[in-house]
């Protein structure tokens, strides 16, 4: 097999690689950056939804009289009187169009009122009647109706098999089941939208979105509108973690409401409780991992079989075992995904879908194998390092530097000398341990990106693209790319993003933003210089699309190493993480300051998943009952002590002109496994179910 490695035309780095402060930092911390709900509008109408209180059934009646009689109420929408939509291709958006109820919490009505308080009060007064059908909301891996989806999220095949896992020679076998819970993205800024409808068919949305063109396209389709007459504006976004990557039901409800009050802007911000049923979540997973190895720790077989859930309303198949197809070399391999179709809200993207839960199971299993073989866990991974991608047989773009990350991390963390004996280090009432896990995330390059460069009268270059900044730093980093592509200082670039009237851009998802948008910006800048040279006339303008796949025939993945020190209280089972370190290989780092924030942000989210996060769905009712920040725990500041991230200085010559691969998600991957492995080292207790709360340690024999 021949492989062709095409080297792209890399930029000369001047602005790229400089730790610039955030361009939007000052206006954010001084409260002047308008988030979706804050765009100034006149005579707004406030929307509060009515939600189904059954998990499956039909609406049989709607008594809205009391709500409508309330002073200040403008309208009450139900399936009986809501404007009609055109396409139900996305069932999540098919709101108030039928009597069917597919999950508890589904929107079955909406009150429009002059104030938020009146809208909320009136929504309480709406009396819905239901035909209540038996529902099924419990994920149990022993169900007999599990099914194999046609394809997984991001297009991965559902199952793979090479060789014969069951017949593989094995001096040592690890055969374990791991579980991760349902988790919710919970960005700090709730999903919020202001929708303004102008007859005969013009829609403006101020939105909190990870993809303005994606939302525009989805709503144009659902409502049968010309996309050119739909505008989605989203300049500042308070986090999304995937949950703002697609249009959700609240978008459709806001548009229906806007159509009911043409000319008046409809404001709709979800409550924290509503976010637990409307905007996606990470499926719970049950993962059966089997590793077979020789006595000296060389893998002979890897099996990773996953059971998870999807919604009756719409399928989402998380690619949980995909990481086990490429992490380590093994002649025999099997991966599979089976879904239970439940009467639950629709799962969707949450930071590193697939890799985040999958690498928890896979990397804890590797730690268990290291213990069983009597090998240092870093050495075990080094012994199973593939030369080329096990999936495609291709070399990795920019090389595979997992072992370098592990070794560099070990050096910085002070890994050696490490006594592998579990449960023997004690500091007062605290048991102390350390753990390591590998991390990986694929390089995604999304199609459909276009940018425009325009020379303006003030001697600057406007750079236009419908990208978004979800808190990641796009306002800063995309300007750095544009500056180097135009070979001007960053100050000469005036970036415009966050508006669907700007040139088409892909979603801020899959860690693809910088790669995908940056490639378009570079293409436009080069087209501009090719046409106008160094001395363009005022008004000069050029646009270009990002090339499809610039780099040719290679595997494209980033890698990393996660280290954690934990302290477990021997009396109470409380787990503290005084120290975490991540070392990553992700190609060129555009801005070390914002990159560090992204890496440690991901690691903190991994810490949070390891110790805290769990959405508790009560199967009797069908909804998440701990649906607020008092009961759905995320790591608090006091849980985050000393977290650091480092990276290898490298340039991926095949990825894109920036030499980068994307860093939005890799920080979360592997972090929970590193912590779980450290907990084992501290206590001798192997917790295979997340989160690692005190009760899990107590019931596993800590006391």
């Amino acid at each position: 097999m021949t492989t062709e490695l095409v080297t792209v035309d890399l930029l000369h780095f001047h602005a790229i690689g400089v730790p610039l402060e955030r361009a939007d930092g000052t206006i954010k911390v001084t409260g002047r950056a308008p988030y979706a709900f804050e765009h100034p509008v006149t005579e707004p109408v406030y929307l509060h939804p009515v939600q189904a209180t059954v998990a499956r059934g039909r609406v049989t009646g709607a008594d809205t009289a009391a709500a409508r009689a309330l002073p200040g109420v403008i309208a009450v929408l139900t399936h009986e009187n809501a404007p009609r939509m055109v396409s139900g291709d996305d069932p999540e958006l098919w709101v108030l169009q039928s009597t069917e109820i597919a999950f508890r919490g589904q929107f079955v009505g909406a009150v429009l009122a002059e104030t938020l308080e009146v809208a909320r009060h009136a929504a309480d007064l709406v009396r819905m009647e239901y035909e209540n059908l038996p529902h099924d909301a419990e994920l149990d891996p022993r169900r007999d109706d599990l099914y194999a989806p046609d394809v997984l999220n991001a297009g991965y095949p559902t199952d793979t098999a090479e060789g014969d896992v069951d017949a593989a020679p094995a001096a040592v076998t690890i055969d374990r089941t791991y579980r991760t819970p349902m988790e919710h993205n919970n960005p700090m800024e709730p999903h919020a939208v202001i929708a303004l409808w102008a007859e005969p068919g013009e829609l403006l949305l101020y939105d909190s979105s990870q993809g303005v063109h994606r939302v525009r396209g989805a709503l144009a389709t659902a409502f049968g509108l010309d996309p050119g007459r739909v505008r989605v504006v989203s300049p500042y976004v308070g986090g999304g973690f995937g949950s703002k990557g697609s249009a959700h039901a609240h978008h459709a409800l806001a548009v229906l409401a806007a159509q009911a009050v043409p000319g008046r802007p409809v404001k709709f911000a979800l409550t924290r409780q509503q976010m637990f049923s409307q905007v996606g979540y990470r499926t719970p997973t049950v993962q059966h991992v089997r590793l077979s190895a020789t006595a000296d720790g060389r893998l002979t077989a890897i099996s990773h079989e996953v059971v998870e859930q999807t919604a009756r309303l719409k399928e989402f198949a998380e690619q949980t075992a995909v990481c086990s197809r490429m992490m380590y070399t093994a002649p025999n391999r099997r991966t599979s995904h089976r879904l239970a179709r439940l009467d639950v809200p629709v799962p969707a993207w949450m930071r590193a879908p697939g890799e985040a839960p999958g690498m928890f199971a896979a990397e804890v299993a590797m730690d268990e194998l290291a213990v069983a073989c009597g090998l240092d866990p870093i050495e075990l991974r080094a012994r199973n390092e593939p030369g080329t991608d096990p999936v495609t047989g291709r070399p990795w773009s920019g090389g595979r530097h997992l072992v370098e990350c592990l070794r560099e991390g070990a050096r910085r963390f002070g890994w050696d000398p490490r006594d592998p004996t579990p449960g023997v280090r004690r500091d007062g009432e605290w048991l102390v341990g350390t753990g390591v896990a590998a991390s990986t995330y694929p390089r995604h390059l999304l199609p459909g990106n276009r940018a425009t460069v325009r020379y303006t009268p003030d001697g600057r270059y406007s750079v236009l693209i419908g990208a978004v900044d979800i808190g990641t730093g796009t306002w800063t980093t995309l300007a750095q790319i544009a500056a180097d592509a135009l070979e001007v200082p960053v100050g000469a670039v005036a970036l415009e993003i966050g508006d669907s009237d700007l040139p088409q851009a892909s979603v801020a998802g899959g860690s693809s933003g910088m790669s995908s948008w940056g490639s378009a910006v570079v293409a436009a800048a080069r087209a501009f210089r090719a046409r106008y040279g160094e001395g363009p006339p005022v008004g000069a303008e050029a646009s270009a699309e990002a090339p499809a796949e610039p780099g040719g025939d290679f595997a494209a993945d980033s890698f990393g190493a996660q280290f954690a020190e934990v302290r477990v209280n021997a009396d109470t089972g409380e787990v503290r993480v005084p120290r975490m370190l991540g070392v990553f290989s992700a190609g060129k780092i555009i801005n070390p300051r914002t990159a560090r924030s992204q890496f440690i942000g991901g690691m903190i989210m991994g810490l949070s998943a390891a110790l805290h996060e769990e959405s508790v769905l009560d199967p009797r009712f069908g909804h998440v009952v701990n649906h607020d920040f008092a009961d759905y725990h995320i790591a608090a500041c006091a849980d985050v002590v000393d977290i650091d991230a480092a990276w290898l200085e490298e340039v991926d010559p095949h990825a894109n002109p920036m030499g980068s691969r994307g860093i939005g998600e890799i920080g979360i991957v592997g972090a929970p496994a590193a912590i779980a492995n450290a907990v084992h080292h501290a206590t001798g207790i192997r917790v295979r179910d997340l989160p690692i709360t005190p009760d899990r340690l107590l019931t596993h024999g800590l006391l």
Partner: protein, 329 residues
């Protein structure tokens, strides 16, 4: 969310009279729990009488050696008070273990004592709850009950009281000063809270119109050697899985006196009288601590998800007493 009228009370007697004559009225102090309930529909008062600015915001030493804490004293102010920190360290520690800095700046002493359970079903009006809607059923009994009671619960309700402050006050045997429609009265904190029985809608023995005006702390020299240990799912801003308030007086290695209360285990702060009896006169050893803890927890009846609380409560008590008695040596 119901519309309501808001009035600011200028003196306690008028506030009590106003609430007494309005069946739908409620006192509002810091609002850190009640305002949530207004939004969630858990509480639907039609009149809020704001008592947060009544002149009940001082901490004073009484002539008989007791300390009087006004009901409107903010949690952060109480926690930071030098007198409290010196004489009742467990009280300061309990306050600082609760909520967040912002909430403690708002929350008052009286309001803290009367906050309601955080049982997820109590706070969710779409699910049955006997405490919120008597007779509708208890969703936690067969549901998500990891945080619920192991002691003193009933078939009607398995909720726990969420206050940290109340646990410390229970160990201290504080007295609650109440102004009601019929005048003033004093309620020992051990008698303020109810077990759920068949009336879980009633958290306390207070009646409509009763206003807590102050909390009196006894002169209790042993309280200077006291601690509050709260075990929770994260390092801050979480309710207790289990907590222990303890004060101990040890001389020559023998426990002369001890006060113990548990939080997070029952519908009210749980005074561990059985453990206290067993420990008085015993040597201050880990064996004695453990025996007392196990005796106290022997009647525990855990639910499907909270069996861990029994060993956790025991070991947390042992660790707390160990810490206090080691310090004393």
């Amino acid at each position: 969310m119901n519309p309501f009228e808001y009035r600011r009370a200028m003196d306690a007697t008028a506030a009590v009279a106003l609430v007494t004559e309005h069946p739908g009225a409620a006192f509002l102090a810091g609002g850190t729990n009640l305002v949530d309930h207004l939004k969630l529909g858990v509480a639907r008062p039609d009149l809020l009488v704001d008592v947060s600015r009544l002149p009940l915001d001082t901490i004073s030493s009484l002539p008989d050696g007791r300390v009087r804490v006004g009901a409107a004293v903010r949690n952060s102010d109480l926690a930071a008070d030098p007198l409290i920190r010196r004489r009742y360290p467990m009280l300061s520690a309990a306050l600082l273990a609760g909520a967040s800095g912002q909430l403690r700046n708002l929350a008052t002493t009286g309001g803290n004592l009367l906050q309601r359970t955080r049982c997820v079903y109590f706070q969710d009006v779409t699910t049955p709850c006997n405490k919120r809607e008597p007779g509708s059923g208890c969703s936690a009994l067969e549901g998500y009950n990891r945080g619920h009671a192991i002691l003193g619960a009933s078939e009607q309700c398995v909720a726990v009281h969420p206050s940290d402050l109340a646990v410390a006050l229970t160990a201290l045997e504080a007295e609650v000063q109440v102004l009601g429609p019929a005048g003033e009265r004093t309620i020992p904190i051990g008698e303020l809270y109810r077990l759920p029985g068949d009336a879980p809608e009633r958290d306390t023995v207070l009646s409509h119109g009763d206003l807590i005006t102050a909390v009196d702390l006894p002169e209790l020299p042993m309280a200077a050697c006291s601690a509050y240990r709260k075990v929770r799912d994260r390092a801050s801003y979480a309710f207790a899985l289990v907590s222990v308030a303890a004060a101990v007086d040890v001389a020559d290695g023998v426990i002369r006196d001890v006060r113990i209360a548990f939080g997070g285990v029952a519908h009210r702060p749980w005074r561990a009288t059985r453990a206290e009896q067993l420990l008085r006169g015993e040597p201050a050893t880990e064996t004695a601590f453990a025996a007392a803890a196990h005796a106290e927890l022997a009647p525990a009846r855990p639910l499907a998800h909270n069996a861990f609380k029994v060993p956790l409560a025991a070991s947390t008590l042992v660790a707390t007493l160990r810490g206090l008695t080691e310090e004393g040596r």
